[in-house]
Amino acid sequence: MSELFDRVDMGLLWLDESGLIGLCNRWLSEAARWPAPPLGQTLEQAFGPELSPKLVQAVDEALRRGRSVRLSHAFHPTPLPLAPRRGDAQQRLQQQIDVQPAEHGGRMGCLIQVRDLTELTRREALLKEQARRLAHDLGELRIAQDELTRQSTRLRELTRIAPVALFETDLQGMLLYTNERFLSLWQLRIGGILGRHWSALLPAAAAAAMVEPWKELLAAQDRPYRDVRVAQEGETERWLRMEASLLRNLDGEAFGTLSSLVDVSELYRRSQQFEHRAHHDALTGLPNRDRLLQRLEGALAAARHLGRSLPLVFLDLDGFKPINDHHGHATGDALLQALAQRLRRQLRADDLLARVGGDEFALLLSDADGAAQVARIMAKLEDVLREPFELNGLRLHVGCSWGLAQYPADGGDADALLAAADARMYLHKQQRRRRDASTENHAP
């Protein structure tokens, strides 16, 4: 029997009714570092002060009351001072101990079984640590996933509500994604467009205008934008503001492109309007004094450079004030508009007729060499002014006085020329008044 016990891979100890060791297998003797089984000794004598009182109590329960008692490792890791049988004697085995009443050799007593849980404990600690880490990683993953979902929702909503057309392509320009605005901008439907070159989906003129700027934008480091004029036949002028950038992975390698298009036609229209308003007289639509000066400076610079002369005419209406006073401002304004149109029609596209005051105009003539040519043009203008204006059932007559100043003879800059022309006009007006007065005196 005892030889059989020696082969068991756990500690076995049998105590008789009085608690004396009656049997001890080899496993336990080795783990307890006993040279020989301490037969006839009590547990306290055999194991010394390291013996757990819980075990003593359990043995008592078994011997006196027949109870079987388990001391689990979790609550009593080392009830006995046992060490690994081959290894450090200071180390302690992690144990599970079962105590149960048991007869041996016809005598009542109790059996103590000792299992070594050291390896199991190690494995479970590892398992729990891994489970904890896994749970932690899973938690992190869940957070990341949540964030990703939030981001992609955010992105989807952004692309939906953004007032820009967006399109993503691979590096070859093949379409991978567009938002709805891109589709509506070009009146496309989503079916069948992905995988095609983005420019192939556009009207030919637009594609031609946009491909080169797009490539330039991608090549640019500082990601500026480009406004592209998209000409579509039969439509009003259209401007698109294009931005494009490369999409890069974490290593910085480009893997695609993302571009946006915004229709800025309205912006352009407005800025042209502002420009026009700043430089034109609101009533007649003629260029204003600012515009005249601007053009005059340019023309003077050219004339200076080419060594040519430059004629400037100052023109003032005769008989306008009485009309204004008599028939009201509305009629005066209508007359100015009609008059401006009539004069404008007589001039070449390059000539500039500007309204510089209430009934004062200035005329910058291009390519008019010499006073004679100017006089011819002015005669023509006087002719058309002499024709009466039919306005609101009225028949109105105005005349004009004008003065010519020439660069460089009459002045070297705009102010001097204007002043000279103004002075000549005044002279002209006075001469006419005198003449008219004498004609009136001689009239019958």
């Binding site: 079987s68 388990r70 689990s72 479970e124």
Partner: protein
């Protein structure tokens, strides 16, 4: 010997096991350091199959899932009285008890590990032994006990090892932890001769004979 319990016998058995379980609950309360509430005991005589069905039908917290059972066999010295005492918890409940006692509330593992089963074995052992101490006093005989067995199974499979026709004295006493939604049950399984012994000893104890 009858398989039908009379009113008085039922009451006497109920009282006996109530005393025993009161003792057990006290030691359990010591272990978890929390007050344990006991339900009024119900005593029933059932066939094994019936017991499994009753357990499966219990719509109580934890019992719908797998069960953790800690069982110990006991016999009187004359071996005329044999019984198996079973302590039942839902798997989640038992997990919570043991991790609570080991201070590992945050353990993400879903199942009971081997060491945790070992610990549960000791917990059940303490509860069942203290219950049996009281019963021994009532029976007037020492009850020799085996070591605890910890097993996990569904209610259907819990009694696979038993004879189908065996009669079970089901003493059902719920033990609840207040801070946790954990309820445990204690069952005593015994054959008819043992039941006869128990009834006789209980009647004797309460002066009914």
């Amino acid at each position: 010997m009858s398989t039908n319990l009379g009113e008085l016998e039922r009451d006497a058995l109920g009282e006996a096991f109530n005393m025993a379980l009161g003792e057990a609950a006290a030691s359990f309360a010591d272990l978890v350091q929390e007050e344990i509430t006991l339900s009024v005991p119900s005593v029933d005589l059932l066939a094994r199959q019936e017991l499994a069905e009753r357990l499966a039908a219990l719509q109580l917290p934890g019992l719908a899932e797998r069960l953790t059972a800690i069982s110990q066999n006991f016999h009187s010295q004359d071996r005329l009285l044999n019984t198996e005492a079973l302590l039942l918890f839902g798997e989640q409940g038992s997990l919570e008890i043991v991790r609570r006692m080991l201070g590992q509330h945050d353990m993400p593992l879903e199942h009971i590990t081997e060491l945790e089963q070992d610990a549960l074995g000791e917990v059940g052992n303490i509860i069942i032994n203290s219950c049996m101490n009281t019963l021994s006093g009532i029976f007037g005989t020492e009850m020799i006990g085996s070591l605890p067995d910890v097993l996990q199974a569904s209610a259907d499979n819990l009694f696979d090892g038993h004879q189908a026709g065996q009669v079970v004295l089901m003493v059902r006493i719920g033990m609840g932890l207040q801070s946790h939604d954990i309820t445990g049950y204690v069952l005593f399984l015994m054959d008819l001769p043992s039941l006869d012994q128990v009834i006789r000893k209980v009647r004797l104890y309460f002066g009914m004979e």
